[in-house]
């Protein structure tokens, strides 16, 4: 698979490309399945429907990898937390984690087992996906998941989790360690079910100062990476900690690909990490509003990366109001402009 070769820094006939949130609302075909499922969470929990929307962008756009359709929060949900997605407000946990008693109630092995609907979706996808296309599994980073579990919802200020970080760091470490254990089992089961690569999303890495990032986020990500690499060295690991461009030179660990968010200049990422890791990204998502902006963005990244040690992607998820025509134009443009 071209995508997997590229993850390991091998030469490929062109630079592979996929898009974060490529199975999403900009696709009318997605909206149809989503509507039939009744709710976002029902869609996540229905293996047939999840498989269907996972495969859509491969068929419609010709991306080089499918990414499992799911949500990072199914993990705390199946650990025992009550989760709902409210329209407009996003995800809400009705009983956020506050005490050690709350934490003790959460389960590890049972959670990994209850996520069977994800593994089933993977088996269906892999059975239908063309053998030259990769399937990417994923999870949220322990820090990002713990933040949701403690805040109870999205947050601008991270007030609750930061108070804990300063007043009771050992409790926070307890949460992170427990989530980490589930994620190891979860990603292992994803691999056993058929994913060819995994990506760890740390959407809220930028909520932490440098030192706190390494203490409360990166070490847990690396714990997962070491576990997976010791057992599945051939499965590439992509990490995507967002908004940490101030200290990229300090990043190191057992992973293969570093996802570059669009606020980080690709030149900077190449300088600081490009010799050590394959880079993924990082086109600015609103460029997909305009074909001229797509051309400029693709050309710039191709000029910097020179088709080496690079996987094309957006620097954030595709926006719901991008036209399918422009999304296709982006994928084609990458393939054409990077052909050897």
């Amino acid at each position: 698979m071209i995508f997997i070769d590229a993850c390991f820094g091998k030469k490929t006939p062109y630079t592979p490309v996929w898009m974060m949130r490529q199975a999403g609302r900009y696709l009318p075909q997605y909206l149809k399945v989503r509507e039939k499922a009744g709710s976002f969470l029902h869609l996540c929990k229905n293996p047939e429907s999840a498989a269907e929307v996972t495969l859509q962008p491969v068929d419609i756009l010709g991306v080089d990898a499918a990414i499992l359709f799911s949500d990072i929060l199914v993990v705390p949900l199946e650990m025992g937390m009550d989760l709902r997605f409210s329209t407009g407000e996003g995800p809400i946990f009705s009983n956020p984690l506050m005490t050690k008693a709350d934490l003790d109630k959460l389960q590890i092995n049972e959670a990994a087992e209850r996520l069977e609907y994800v593994y089933k979706a993977i088996r269906i996808i892999r059975s239908k996906l063309s053998s030259d296309k990769a399937l990417i599994g994923f999870c949220g980073a322990p820090w990002t998941l713990a933040t949701y579990m403690i805040e109870g919802s999205g947050t601008k200020t991270y007030g609750k989790v930061k108070k804990l970080l300063y007043s009771n760091p050992s409790f926070l470490h307890g949460v992170l360690a427990k989530v980490t254990e589930v994620l190891k089992l979860y990603l292992e089961m994803q691999i056993k079910s058929g994913v060819n690569a995994v990506q760890i999303f740390d959407s809220w890495a930028s909520a932490l100062e440098e030192k706190a990032f390494f203490e409360f986020s990166w070490r847990y990500i690396q714990d997962i990476c070491s576990f997976l690499k010791s057992k599945y060295p051939d499965v590439p690991i992509i990490v995507f900690p967002k908004g940490i461009s101030g200290y990229l030179d300090k990043i190191e660990g057992e992973f293969d690909v570093f996802g570059v968010d669009w606020s980080t200049p690709i030149e900077l990422a190449k300088e600081k990490l490009g010799n050590r890791y394959v880079l993924q990204g990082n086109m600015e998502p609103t460029r997909l509003y305009s074909k001229r902006a797509i051309d400029e963005g693709v050309e710039h990244i191709v000029n910097v990366m020179q088709n080496k040690r690079h996987i094309f992607n957006l620097g954030h998820g595709i926006l719901p109001d991008v036209s399918v025509e422009n999304a296709k134009y982006f994928i084609n443009s990458v393939h054409e402009k990077t052909k050897i």
Copy 2:
């Protein structure tokens, strides 16, 4: 004034400190005046009340500078746009800028004149403020204001303004140029009314890629800086473009102090800018939840900056749920730990 000396890189007996949003909701005294005023916008427009809340943190906390209480959006308001602040949703312009006709209706000189309530507040504050304390005036950067004017409200994706940026950049430049002209007059009138320094807030700098930042934001900020510096070289200018740590080395222009947001490691800002500009910032605001975290944060920044070419501040506004006791502790801690 110690604060002004520090802005120009002169040696001071201790490192001066103030906090963004120091006249704000964490202070019970502020809430009282705010309630009496009836609404946030009424408070901005009432010179006596605005002066009162501006002075509160100087009296209560002992900060080294007062910052004018106002809002960056009074500028588009007085240019002729309809603005309201809705509870929970933030600012809303009922008729966002869409066409050249919308733009042509907006006023320049009349806007600067209608902002008389701000100048009056400044005169009152300066008449009451101790002569060793600085008064900081401010405005939003043209890019940040234009984004609000075009989006009509806060935004996560900047969809409307980005569509314009790619499809009709000359219109966007027209908006930015017009706003810039008002801001020159506005800051000049603030200086004439008695402010001792000005800060230009570019809260949404991070919405732009590097190249676009210089084209659509920085050049307009610099247009304002050059105008002010040619007439008022003794008034320090502080710039605060948020979230641009990826290309700090490219920043240059006619200003005195660079505000460092907390996501940028202070070591990085010192390395890239510290020889050329005085730095302001950048303590992580949630550290004010805990005295131990305050101690650690202050000590770290003092260790890096060594009391040289530095003004202490938070790396973002003070949060509404910080206790006044901890805010005081922070201010005292800076004064004590930086005393020569």
